[in-house]
Protein backbone atom coordinates (compact mmCIF):
# COMPACT_ATOMS: atom_id res chain seq x y z
CA UNK A 1 0.00 0.00 0.00
CA UNK A 2 1.27 3.46 -0.88
CA UNK A 3 2.29 5.59 2.10
CA UNK A 4 0.32 8.81 2.50
CA UNK A 5 2.14 12.16 2.70
CA UNK A 6 0.90 15.67 3.51
CA UNK A 7 3.05 18.52 2.09
CA UNK A 8 3.20 21.68 4.19
CA UNK A 9 4.97 24.57 2.44
CA UNK A 10 3.93 28.19 1.98
CA UNK A 11 5.52 28.24 -1.50
CA UNK A 12 2.93 26.58 -3.77
CA UNK A 13 5.54 26.17 -6.49
CA UNK A 14 7.73 24.10 -4.17
CA UNK A 15 4.76 22.16 -2.82
CA UNK A 16 3.62 21.21 -6.33
CA UNK A 17 7.14 20.12 -7.31
CA UNK A 18 7.40 18.02 -4.14
CA UNK A 19 4.03 16.52 -4.96
CA UNK A 20 5.27 15.50 -8.42
CA UNK A 21 8.57 14.12 -7.06
CA UNK A 22 6.97 12.15 -4.25
CA UNK A 23 4.23 10.79 -6.49
CA UNK A 24 6.91 9.63 -8.95
CA UNK A 25 8.75 8.03 -6.02
CA UNK A 26 5.66 5.94 -5.20
CA UNK A 27 3.98 7.94 -2.43
CA UNK A 28 0.45 9.18 -2.32
CA UNK A 29 0.25 12.92 -1.67
CA UNK A 30 -2.99 13.47 0.23
CA UNK A 31 -2.78 17.24 0.32
CA UNK A 32 -0.89 20.48 0.10
CA UNK A 33 -1.23 22.98 2.95
CA UNK A 34 0.23 26.49 3.24
CA UNK A 35 -1.06 27.48 6.67
CA UNK A 36 -1.49 25.83 10.05
CA UNK A 37 -5.27 26.07 9.61
CA UNK A 38 -5.08 24.14 6.35
CA UNK A 39 -2.83 21.52 7.93
CA UNK A 40 -5.32 20.86 10.71
CA UNK A 41 -8.22 20.73 8.23
CA UNK A 42 -6.34 18.33 5.97
CA UNK A 43 -5.40 16.02 8.84
CA UNK A 44 -9.09 15.83 9.79
CA UNK A 45 -10.28 14.86 6.33
CA UNK A 46 -7.32 12.87 4.97
CA UNK A 47 -5.13 10.93 7.43
CA UNK A 48 -1.45 10.65 6.50
CA UNK A 49 1.61 8.60 7.49
CA UNK A 50 4.07 11.45 7.22
CA UNK A 51 4.28 15.24 6.89
CA UNK A 52 6.94 17.18 4.97
CA UNK A 53 7.01 20.33 7.06
CA UNK A 54 8.49 23.68 6.04
CA UNK A 55 10.16 25.20 9.11
CA UNK A 56 8.68 28.65 8.44
CA UNK A 57 5.11 29.24 7.32
CA UNK A 58 4.30 32.80 6.19
CA UNK A 59 7.07 34.19 8.46
CA UNK A 60 5.78 32.15 11.43
CA UNK A 61 7.72 29.35 13.09
CA UNK A 62 6.30 25.90 12.41
CA UNK A 63 7.42 24.92 15.95
CA UNK A 64 3.91 24.78 17.48
CA UNK A 65 2.74 22.64 14.55
CA UNK A 66 5.72 20.30 15.04
CA UNK A 67 4.78 19.94 18.70
CA UNK A 68 1.21 19.14 17.71
CA UNK A 69 2.41 16.47 15.23
CA UNK A 70 4.67 14.87 17.87
CA UNK A 71 1.77 14.75 20.31
CA UNK A 72 -0.51 13.26 17.65
CA UNK A 73 2.17 10.65 16.85
CA UNK A 74 2.45 11.73 13.22
CA UNK A 75 5.93 11.34 11.75
CA UNK A 76 7.44 14.29 9.91
CA UNK A 77 10.58 15.59 8.22
CA UNK A 78 11.50 19.28 8.27
CA UNK A 79 12.46 21.27 5.16
CA UNK A 80 14.20 24.62 5.43
CA UNK A 81 16.78 27.05 4.08
CA UNK A 82 17.84 27.54 7.72
CA UNK A 83 20.48 25.34 9.32
CA UNK A 84 19.55 22.93 12.14
CA UNK A 85 21.17 25.33 14.64
CA UNK A 86 18.78 28.09 13.61
CA UNK A 87 15.64 25.97 14.16
CA UNK A 88 15.42 25.92 17.95
CA UNK A 89 12.43 23.57 18.12
CA UNK A 90 13.97 20.82 15.99
CA UNK A 91 14.38 17.49 17.87
CA UNK A 92 15.55 14.26 16.22
CA UNK A 93 13.55 14.83 13.02
CA UNK A 94 15.59 14.80 9.79
CA UNK A 95 16.25 18.27 8.34
CA UNK A 96 16.06 18.47 4.54
CA UNK A 97 17.99 21.46 3.23
CA UNK A 98 16.45 23.78 0.65
CA UNK A 99 17.06 23.82 -2.25
CA UNK A 100 16.22 20.12 -2.23
CA UNK A 101 18.42 17.17 -2.92
CA UNK A 102 15.95 14.50 -4.05
CA UNK A 103 18.09 11.70 -2.59
CA UNK A 104 18.36 13.44 0.77
CA UNK A 105 14.61 14.02 0.80
CA UNK A 106 13.77 10.37 0.09
CA UNK A 107 16.41 9.15 2.59
CA UNK A 108 14.94 11.38 5.31
CA UNK A 109 11.42 10.20 4.60
CA UNK A 110 12.57 6.56 4.54
CA UNK A 111 14.39 6.95 7.84
CA UNK A 112 11.32 8.34 9.60
CA UNK A 113 8.89 5.82 8.14
CA UNK A 114 11.09 2.91 9.21
CA UNK A 115 11.09 3.97 12.87
CA UNK A 116 8.80 1.38 14.56
CA UNK A 117 7.13 3.64 17.13
CA UNK A 118 6.21 6.39 14.72
Amino acid sequence: MRRKILIVDDEPMIALDLEASLTNAGFEVVGIACTIKEVLASMESAPCDLVVLDAMLRDQSAGPLAKHLREAGIAFVVASGHSAKQIDWLEDEPLIQKPFDQAQLLAGIGQVLEQPNK
Partner: protein
Protein backbone atom coordinates in the same frame (compact mmCIF):
# COMPACT_ATOMS: atom_id res chain seq x y z
CA UNK B 1 71.97 98.17 35.40
CA UNK B 2 72.57 94.46 35.86
CA UNK B 3 71.85 92.71 39.11
CA UNK B 4 75.60 92.17 39.47
CA UNK B 5 76.26 95.92 39.14
CA UNK B 6 73.62 96.83 41.74
CA UNK B 7 75.26 94.70 44.37
CA UNK B 8 77.21 96.60 46.94
CA UNK B 9 78.26 96.54 50.57
CA UNK B 10 76.88 99.19 52.97
CA UNK B 11 78.80 100.70 55.83
CA UNK B 12 78.14 103.15 58.65
CA UNK B 13 81.13 104.82 60.31
CA UNK B 14 80.15 108.34 61.26
CA UNK B 15 83.12 108.88 63.57
CA UNK B 16 86.09 110.86 62.25
CA UNK B 17 87.76 109.58 59.11
CA UNK B 18 86.53 105.98 59.58
CA UNK B 19 84.17 106.21 56.59
CA UNK B 20 86.81 107.46 54.20
CA UNK B 21 89.32 104.83 55.33
CA UNK B 22 86.80 101.98 55.01
CA UNK B 23 85.76 103.10 51.57
CA UNK B 24 89.36 103.31 50.39
CA UNK B 25 90.26 99.89 51.78
CA UNK B 26 87.27 98.16 50.14
CA UNK B 27 87.70 99.96 46.83
CA UNK B 28 91.37 98.93 46.83
CA UNK B 29 90.19 95.27 46.55
CA UNK B 30 87.35 96.21 44.16
CA UNK B 31 84.47 95.61 46.55
CA UNK B 32 81.67 97.98 45.57
CA UNK B 33 80.45 99.81 48.65
CA UNK B 34 78.39 102.76 49.72
CA UNK B 35 78.37 104.75 52.99
CA UNK B 36 75.30 105.35 55.14
CA UNK B 37 75.07 108.21 57.60
CA UNK B 38 72.59 106.61 59.98
CA UNK B 39 70.99 103.30 60.94
CA UNK B 40 67.71 104.68 59.51
CA UNK B 41 69.37 105.25 56.13
CA UNK B 42 70.97 101.79 56.34
CA UNK B 43 67.60 100.24 57.10
CA UNK B 44 65.96 101.96 54.18
CA UNK B 45 68.71 100.89 51.78
CA UNK B 46 68.97 97.23 52.86
CA UNK B 47 68.08 94.94 49.98
CA UNK B 48 68.89 91.55 48.57
CA UNK B 49 71.58 93.32 46.55
CA UNK B 50 73.36 94.34 49.76
CA UNK B 51 76.41 92.08 49.84
CA UNK B 52 77.33 92.72 53.47
CA UNK B 53 77.22 95.45 56.11
CA UNK B 54 80.04 97.04 58.10
CA UNK B 55 78.99 99.07 61.12
CA UNK B 56 80.60 100.31 64.30
CA UNK B 57 79.46 99.11 67.67
CA UNK B 58 78.70 102.64 68.92
CA UNK B 59 76.33 103.42 66.07
CA UNK B 60 74.45 100.19 66.50
CA UNK B 61 74.21 100.46 70.26
CA UNK B 62 72.88 103.98 70.14
CA UNK B 63 70.18 103.27 67.55
CA UNK B 64 66.84 101.53 67.49
CA UNK B 65 67.55 98.23 65.70
CA UNK B 66 63.94 97.01 65.53
CA UNK B 67 63.56 97.74 61.80
CA UNK B 68 66.91 96.10 60.99
CA UNK B 69 65.98 93.07 63.07
CA UNK B 70 62.64 92.83 61.24
CA UNK B 71 64.41 93.01 57.89
CA UNK B 72 66.85 90.27 58.93
CA UNK B 73 64.01 88.14 60.20
CA UNK B 74 62.11 88.55 56.95
CA UNK B 75 64.97 87.41 54.69
CA UNK B 76 64.11 84.59 52.26
CA UNK B 77 65.44 81.15 53.13
CA UNK B 78 68.56 81.45 50.98
CA UNK B 79 69.60 84.80 52.43
CA UNK B 80 71.67 85.43 55.59
CA UNK B 81 73.17 88.91 55.22
CA UNK B 82 76.70 89.06 56.75
CA UNK B 83 77.50 91.85 59.22
CA UNK B 84 80.97 93.00 60.27
CA UNK B 85 80.86 94.99 63.52
CA UNK B 86 83.83 97.07 64.53
CA UNK B 87 84.16 97.01 68.31
CA UNK B 88 86.37 98.71 70.89
CA UNK B 89 89.29 96.88 72.39
CA UNK B 90 88.41 94.11 74.82
CA UNK B 91 84.71 94.25 74.12
CA UNK B 92 84.30 90.84 72.48
CA UNK B 93 80.97 89.03 72.72
CA UNK B 94 82.12 86.76 75.54
CA UNK B 95 82.79 89.69 77.83
CA UNK B 96 80.53 92.35 76.40
CA UNK B 97 76.77 91.92 76.91
CA UNK B 98 76.01 94.56 74.28
CA UNK B 99 78.05 92.63 71.70
CA UNK B 100 76.21 89.42 72.46
CA UNK B 101 72.90 91.28 72.06
CA UNK B 102 74.08 92.44 68.63
CA UNK B 103 75.10 88.91 67.73
CA UNK B 104 71.58 87.72 68.62
CA UNK B 105 69.93 90.43 66.51
CA UNK B 106 72.19 90.39 63.47
CA UNK B 107 72.75 86.63 63.28
CA UNK B 108 75.54 86.28 60.73
CA UNK B 109 77.99 88.63 62.39
CA UNK B 110 81.77 88.92 62.77
CA UNK B 111 83.36 91.23 65.31
CA UNK B 112 86.58 93.07 64.52
CA UNK B 113 88.46 94.75 67.30
CA UNK B 114 89.87 98.23 66.71
CA UNK B 115 92.43 99.28 65.88
CA UNK B 116 92.64 96.65 63.20
CA UNK B 117 95.16 95.84 60.58
CA UNK B 118 93.76 96.68 57.09
CA UNK B 119 94.53 93.14 55.90
CA UNK B 120 92.29 91.70 58.62
CA UNK B 121 89.36 93.89 57.58
CA UNK B 122 89.88 93.06 53.92
CA UNK B 123 90.04 89.33 54.56
CA UNK B 124 86.83 89.55 56.67
CA UNK B 125 85.14 91.61 53.95
CA UNK B 126 86.17 89.15 51.23
CA UNK B 127 84.96 86.20 53.34
CA UNK B 128 81.62 87.93 53.89
CA UNK B 129 81.37 88.72 50.18
CA UNK B 130 82.18 85.14 49.17
CA UNK B 131 79.61 83.83 51.62
CA UNK B 132 77.05 86.23 50.22
CA UNK B 133 77.88 85.15 46.67
CA UNK B 134 77.27 81.54 47.66
CA UNK B 135 73.89 82.68 48.94
CA UNK B 136 73.16 84.30 45.55
CA UNK B 137 74.09 81.04 43.85
CA UNK B 138 71.83 79.16 46.23
CA UNK B 139 69.05 81.60 45.30
CA UNK B 140 69.47 80.81 41.59
CA UNK B 141 69.43 77.14 42.43
CA UNK B 142 66.30 77.48 44.52
CA UNK B 143 64.57 79.47 41.80
CA UNK B 144 65.35 76.75 39.30
CA UNK B 145 63.99 74.13 41.67
CA UNK B 146 60.84 76.17 42.21
CA UNK B 147 60.39 76.64 38.50
CA UNK B 148 60.75 72.90 37.99
CA UNK B 149 58.21 72.25 40.71
CA UNK B 150 55.73 74.66 39.11
CA UNK B 151 56.20 73.00 35.75
CA UNK B 152 55.69 69.63 37.34
CA UNK B 153 52.55 70.87 39.04
CA UNK B 154 51.23 72.26 35.75
CA UNK B 155 52.08 69.08 33.91
CA UNK B 156 50.44 67.00 36.62
CA UNK B 157 47.32 69.16 36.37
CA UNK B 158 47.29 68.74 32.59
CA UNK B 159 47.59 64.96 32.85
CA UNK B 160 44.92 64.83 35.52
CA UNK B 161 42.60 66.89 33.30
CA UNK B 162 43.33 64.55 30.39
CA UNK B 163 42.61 61.49 32.55
CA UNK B 164 39.48 62.99 34.06
CA UNK B 165 37.99 64.44 30.88
CA UNK B 166 38.95 61.72 28.40
CA UNK B 167 36.03 60.64 26.21
CA UNK B 168 36.83 56.98 26.88
CA UNK B 169 36.88 55.28 30.25
CA UNK B 170 40.32 54.99 31.85
CA UNK B 171 41.19 53.07 34.98
CA UNK B 172 44.40 52.17 36.79
CA UNK B 173 44.18 48.63 38.10
CA UNK B 174 46.37 47.00 40.74
CA UNK B 175 47.89 43.58 39.91
CA UNK B 176 45.20 41.99 42.12
CA UNK B 177 42.47 43.59 39.97
CA UNK B 178 41.28 46.37 42.29
CA UNK B 179 40.57 49.75 40.75
CA UNK B 180 43.14 52.30 41.96
CA UNK B 181 42.08 55.37 39.99
CA UNK B 182 39.12 55.72 37.63
CA UNK B 183 37.94 58.57 35.48
CA UNK B 184 34.50 60.10 35.09
CA UNK B 185 33.70 58.40 31.78
CA UNK B 186 34.47 54.97 33.25
CA UNK B 187 32.13 55.71 36.15
CA UNK B 188 29.41 56.65 33.63
CA UNK B 189 29.99 53.46 31.63
CA UNK B 190 29.66 51.12 34.62
CA UNK B 191 27.21 53.24 36.62
CA UNK B 192 29.26 53.27 39.84
CA UNK B 193 30.59 56.38 41.60
CA UNK B 194 34.35 56.86 41.81
CA UNK B 195 34.37 55.78 45.47
CA UNK B 196 32.17 52.72 44.86
CA UNK B 197 34.26 51.53 41.95
CA UNK B 198 37.48 51.84 43.92
CA UNK B 199 36.14 49.32 46.45
CA UNK B 200 35.68 46.77 43.64
CA UNK B 201 37.89 44.67 41.41
CA UNK B 202 37.53 44.37 37.64
CA UNK B 203 36.82 40.67 38.22
CA UNK B 204 33.67 41.55 40.18
CA UNK B 205 32.10 43.56 37.35
CA UNK B 206 33.22 41.34 34.46
CA UNK B 207 30.72 38.88 32.95
CA UNK B 208 31.72 35.38 34.18
CA UNK B 209 31.80 34.03 30.60
CA UNK B 210 34.46 36.61 29.64
CA UNK B 211 36.51 36.53 32.83
CA UNK B 212 38.74 33.53 32.15
CA UNK B 213 40.01 34.99 28.85
CA UNK B 214 40.71 38.33 30.48
CA UNK B 215 42.59 36.74 33.40
CA UNK B 216 44.82 34.81 31.01
CA UNK B 217 45.82 38.10 29.37
CA UNK B 218 46.40 39.81 32.73
CA UNK B 219 48.61 36.94 33.91
CA UNK B 220 50.73 37.26 30.79
CA UNK B 221 51.12 41.01 31.33
CA UNK B 222 52.09 40.45 35.00
CA UNK B 223 54.68 37.88 33.92
CA UNK B 224 55.93 40.51 31.43
CA UNK B 225 55.39 38.18 28.47
CA UNK B 226 53.31 40.87 26.76
CA UNK B 227 53.10 44.62 27.31
CA UNK B 228 49.51 45.13 26.28
CA UNK B 229 46.37 43.41 25.06
CA UNK B 230 42.88 44.21 23.81
CA UNK B 231 39.57 42.35 23.87
CA UNK B 232 35.84 42.83 23.69
CA UNK B 233 34.00 41.70 26.79
CA UNK B 234 30.95 42.31 28.93
CA UNK B 235 30.58 44.23 32.18
CA UNK B 236 27.74 44.23 34.65
CA UNK B 237 26.63 47.79 35.32
CA UNK B 238 25.60 48.73 38.85
CA UNK B 239 21.91 48.39 37.82
CA UNK B 240 22.59 44.78 36.78
CA UNK B 241 22.34 45.39 33.04
CA UNK B 242 24.99 43.93 30.75
CA UNK B 243 27.06 46.14 28.46
CA UNK B 244 29.71 45.35 25.85
CA UNK B 245 33.04 47.14 26.09
CA UNK B 246 36.20 47.29 24.06
CA UNK B 247 39.10 46.92 26.49
CA UNK B 248 42.72 47.90 25.80
CA UNK B 249 45.21 47.28 28.60
CA UNK B 250 48.78 48.51 29.02
CA UNK B 251 51.09 48.26 32.02
CA UNK B 252 53.27 50.57 34.14
CA UNK B 253 56.36 49.02 35.75
CA UNK B 254 58.29 49.77 38.93
CA UNK B 255 62.10 50.30 38.84
CA UNK B 256 62.52 46.60 39.76
CA UNK B 257 60.69 45.79 36.50
CA UNK B 258 57.65 44.24 38.20
CA UNK B 259 54.25 45.55 37.04
CA UNK B 260 53.14 48.39 39.28
CA UNK B 261 49.66 48.82 37.84
CA UNK B 262 47.65 48.23 34.67
CA UNK B 263 46.21 51.04 32.56
CA UNK B 264 42.84 50.01 31.16
CA UNK B 265 41.13 52.02 28.40
CA UNK B 266 37.43 51.17 28.16
CA UNK B 267 35.01 52.01 25.38
CA UNK B 268 31.28 51.28 25.49
CA UNK B 269 30.45 49.34 22.29
CA UNK B 270 26.99 48.11 23.31
CA UNK B 271 25.28 50.03 20.49
CA UNK B 272 27.70 48.70 17.88
CA UNK B 273 27.25 45.15 19.20
CA UNK B 274 23.50 45.50 19.00
CA UNK B 275 23.80 46.70 15.40
CA UNK B 276 26.10 43.76 14.62
CA UNK B 277 23.44 41.43 16.00
CA UNK B 278 20.78 43.07 13.84
CA UNK B 279 23.00 42.74 10.78
CA UNK B 280 23.58 39.08 11.65
CA UNK B 281 19.83 38.56 11.95
CA UNK B 282 19.26 40.30 8.64
CA UNK B 283 21.98 38.24 6.94
CA UNK B 284 20.40 35.03 8.23
CA UNK B 285 17.04 36.23 6.94
CA UNK B 286 18.55 37.09 3.53
CA UNK B 287 20.20 33.66 3.46
CA UNK B 288 16.91 32.00 4.28
CA UNK B 289 14.99 33.97 1.67
CA UNK B 290 17.56 33.33 -1.03
CA UNK B 291 17.65 29.60 -0.29
CA UNK B 292 13.87 29.57 -0.42
CA UNK B 293 13.97 31.42 -3.72
CA UNK B 294 16.52 28.92 -5.04
CA UNK B 295 14.15 26.13 -4.02
CA UNK B 296 11.35 27.88 -5.96
CA UNK B 297 13.65 28.17 -8.99
CA UNK B 298 14.59 24.53 -8.58
CA UNK B 299 10.90 23.61 -8.55
CA UNK B 300 10.25 25.65 -11.69
CA UNK B 301 13.22 23.93 -13.38
CA UNK B 302 12.00 20.47 -12.32
CA UNK B 303 8.47 21.11 -13.49
CA UNK B 304 9.52 22.74 -16.73
CA UNK B 305 11.80 19.77 -17.42
CA UNK B 306 8.85 17.38 -16.89
CA UNK B 307 6.92 18.65 -19.90
CA UNK B 308 9.29 20.68 -22.11
CA UNK B 309 11.50 19.05 -24.71
CA UNK B 310 15.21 19.62 -24.15
CA UNK B 311 15.10 22.13 -27.00
CA UNK B 312 12.25 24.13 -25.46
CA UNK B 313 13.53 23.88 -21.91
CA UNK B 314 15.92 26.82 -21.93
CA UNK B 315 13.34 29.24 -23.39
CA UNK B 316 10.44 28.05 -21.22
CA UNK B 317 12.57 28.09 -18.07
CA UNK B 318 13.93 31.55 -18.84
CA UNK B 319 10.42 32.93 -19.52
CA UNK B 320 9.18 31.61 -16.17
CA UNK B 321 12.19 33.01 -14.32
CA UNK B 322 11.50 36.40 -15.91
CA UNK B 323 7.92 36.24 -14.66
CA UNK B 324 9.13 35.35 -11.16
CA UNK B 325 11.77 38.05 -11.25
CA UNK B 326 9.22 40.74 -12.25
CA UNK B 327 7.15 39.96 -9.16
CA UNK B 328 10.28 40.11 -6.98
CA UNK B 329 11.14 43.62 -8.20
CA UNK B 330 7.70 44.82 -7.19
CA UNK B 331 7.96 43.13 -3.79
CA UNK B 332 11.28 44.82 -3.04
CA UNK B 333 9.74 48.21 -3.91
CA UNK B 334 7.33 47.85 -1.02
CA UNK B 335 9.81 46.37 1.40
CA UNK B 336 8.50 42.83 0.84
CA UNK B 337 5.10 43.65 2.31
CA UNK B 338 2.84 43.96 -0.71
CA UNK B 339 2.47 44.69 -4.42
CA UNK B 340 0.07 46.94 -6.28
CA UNK B 341 -2.14 44.61 -8.33
CA UNK B 342 -2.21 46.96 -11.35
CA UNK B 343 1.62 47.09 -11.36
CA UNK B 344 1.75 43.31 -11.07
CA UNK B 345 -0.60 42.80 -14.04
CA UNK B 346 1.32 45.34 -16.16
CA UNK B 347 4.69 43.77 -15.36
CA UNK B 348 3.50 40.30 -16.33
CA UNK B 349 2.02 41.57 -19.60
CA UNK B 350 5.04 43.69 -20.51
CA UNK B 351 6.76 40.83 -22.30
CA UNK B 352 3.86 40.55 -24.77
CA UNK B 353 5.18 43.77 -26.27
CA UNK B 354 3.34 46.24 -28.50
CA UNK B 355 0.93 45.91 -30.27
CA UNK B 356 -0.24 42.64 -28.66
CA UNK B 357 -0.41 44.13 -25.18
CA UNK B 358 -2.80 46.78 -26.53
CA UNK B 359 -5.31 43.97 -27.04
CA UNK B 360 -5.48 43.38 -23.29
CA UNK B 361 -8.00 45.44 -21.31
CA UNK B 362 -7.34 45.72 -17.57
CA UNK B 363 -10.07 46.82 -15.18
CA UNK B 364 -10.06 46.84 -11.36
CA UNK B 365 -9.73 49.05 -8.29
CA UNK B 366 -6.15 49.81 -7.26
CA UNK B 367 -5.39 47.44 -4.38
CA UNK B 368 -2.31 46.03 -2.67
CA UNK B 369 -1.90 42.24 -2.54
CA UNK B 370 0.24 40.08 -0.22
CA UNK B 371 3.59 38.62 -1.38
CA UNK B 372 2.24 35.07 -1.72
CA UNK B 373 -0.84 36.27 -3.63
CA UNK B 374 1.47 38.35 -5.86
CA UNK B 375 3.59 35.33 -6.67
CA UNK B 376 0.60 33.03 -7.30
CA UNK B 377 -1.33 35.54 -9.42
CA UNK B 378 1.80 36.75 -11.20
CA UNK B 379 2.89 33.27 -12.30
CA UNK B 380 -0.67 32.38 -13.35
CA UNK B 381 -0.98 35.55 -15.48
CA UNK B 382 2.39 34.76 -17.01
CA UNK B 383 1.29 31.26 -18.01
CA UNK B 384 -2.08 32.54 -19.27
CA UNK B 385 -0.33 35.15 -21.42
CA UNK B 386 2.14 32.58 -22.80
CA UNK B 387 -0.76 30.27 -23.57
CA UNK B 388 -2.76 33.06 -25.26
CA UNK B 389 0.24 33.94 -27.46
CA UNK B 390 0.76 30.31 -28.51
CA UNK B 391 -2.81 29.06 -28.96
CA UNK B 392 -5.35 31.64 -27.74
CA UNK B 393 -6.79 35.08 -28.43
CA UNK B 394 -3.36 36.71 -28.90
CA UNK B 395 -2.04 34.07 -31.29
CA UNK B 396 -3.55 35.61 -34.45
CA UNK B 397 -4.37 39.10 -35.70
CA UNK B 398 -7.72 39.28 -34.00
CA UNK B 399 -8.98 38.68 -30.52
CA UNK B 400 -8.38 40.19 -27.13
CA UNK B 401 -8.19 39.58 -23.40
CA UNK B 402 -10.07 41.16 -20.51
CA UNK B 403 -8.57 41.13 -17.04
CA UNK B 404 -10.95 42.15 -14.26
CA UNK B 405 -10.85 41.99 -10.52
CA UNK B 406 -13.53 42.79 -7.99
CA UNK B 407 -14.87 41.96 -4.59
CA UNK B 408 -18.27 40.65 -3.48
CA UNK B 409 -19.92 38.58 -0.78
CA UNK B 410 -21.01 39.60 2.72
CA UNK B 411 -19.18 42.47 4.42
CA UNK B 412 -17.94 40.21 7.24
CA UNK B 413 -16.48 37.64 4.79
CA UNK B 414 -15.73 39.42 1.49
CA UNK B 415 -14.34 37.45 -1.43
CA UNK B 416 -11.84 38.55 -4.01
CA UNK B 417 -12.07 37.53 -7.68
CA UNK B 418 -9.72 38.01 -10.60
CA UNK B 419 -10.67 36.84 -14.09
CA UNK B 420 -8.85 36.38 -17.41
CA UNK B 421 -11.29 36.14 -20.29
CA UNK B 422 -10.25 35.62 -23.92
CA UNK B 423 -12.61 36.52 -26.78
CA UNK B 424 -12.40 36.77 -30.56
CA UNK B 425 -9.50 34.42 -31.08
CA UNK B 426 -9.43 31.03 -32.76
CA UNK B 427 -11.92 28.41 -31.62
CA UNK B 428 -10.75 26.77 -28.42
CA UNK B 429 -10.63 23.12 -27.35
CA UNK B 430 -9.51 21.74 -24.04
CA UNK B 431 -5.97 20.40 -24.52
CA UNK B 432 -5.41 16.72 -23.78
CA UNK B 433 -2.01 17.24 -22.20
CA UNK B 434 -1.99 18.69 -18.67
CA UNK B 435 1.44 20.32 -18.50
CA UNK B 436 3.12 22.51 -15.94
CA UNK B 437 1.51 25.64 -17.38
CA UNK B 438 -1.88 24.20 -16.62
CA UNK B 439 -0.77 23.19 -13.10
CA UNK B 440 0.31 26.78 -12.43
CA UNK B 441 -2.86 28.27 -13.84
CA UNK B 442 -5.20 25.87 -12.15
CA UNK B 443 -3.63 24.71 -8.92
CA UNK B 444 -0.68 26.88 -7.94
CA UNK B 445 -2.60 30.17 -7.91
CA UNK B 446 -5.41 28.49 -5.94
CA UNK B 447 -2.99 27.10 -3.35
CA UNK B 448 -1.20 30.46 -3.04
CA UNK B 449 -4.34 32.22 -1.81
CA UNK B 450 -6.19 29.17 -0.40
CA UNK B 451 -8.84 29.76 -3.03
CA UNK B 452 -10.52 28.13 -6.00
CA UNK B 453 -9.89 28.32 -9.73
CA UNK B 454 -12.53 27.92 -12.42
CA UNK B 455 -11.03 27.15 -15.81
CA UNK B 456 -13.34 26.89 -18.82
CA UNK B 457 -12.39 26.16 -22.40
CA UNK B 458 -15.41 27.87 -23.99
CA UNK B 459 -15.41 27.70 -27.76
CA UNK B 460 -15.26 31.54 -28.02
CA UNK B 461 -12.22 31.67 -25.73
CA UNK B 462 -10.53 30.51 -22.55
CA UNK B 463 -11.96 31.82 -19.27
CA UNK B 464 -10.02 31.68 -16.00
CA UNK B 465 -11.26 32.95 -12.63
CA UNK B 466 -9.51 32.82 -9.29
CA UNK B 467 -11.64 33.39 -6.18
CA UNK B 468 -10.49 33.51 -2.57
CA UNK B 469 -11.35 35.04 0.78
CA UNK B 470 -10.28 38.68 0.44
CA UNK B 471 -8.08 38.47 3.56
CA UNK B 472 -5.85 35.89 1.80
CA UNK B 473 -5.18 38.23 -1.11
CA UNK B 474 -5.43 41.85 -0.06
CA UNK B 475 -2.68 43.41 2.02
CA UNK B 476 -3.90 45.33 5.02
CA UNK B 477 -1.64 47.81 6.75
CA UNK B 478 -1.33 46.59 10.31
Amino acid sequence: MTQEARRAALFIAPMGRDAAILQRLLEAVHIPCSPCRSVEELTSRLSQDTTFVIATEEVLNSANLQAVAAWIEAQPSWSDLPFIVLIGRGSGAERNPLASRLAAILGNVSFLERPFHPTTLISLALTALRGRQRQYEARVHLQELEKGRDELRESEARFRATFENAAIGIGHVAPDGSWLRVNRRLCEIVGYSDAELRTKTFQEITHPDDLADDLVHVERVLRREINEYGMEKRYFRKDGSIIWINLTVGSVCRPDNAVDYLVAAIEDITTRKRQDDQIQLLMREVNHRSKNMLAVVQSIANQTARDSSPREFAVDFMQRLKGLSASQDLLIDRNWTSVGLTDLVQSQLAYLGSPKNERVRVRGQPILVTPSAAQGIGLALHELATNALKYGALSGDRGGVMIDWWRDGPEEAPRFHIAWTERGGPEVQEPLHRGFGRTVIERMSAIAVSGKVELRYDSEGLAWKLSAPEENVVYRVR
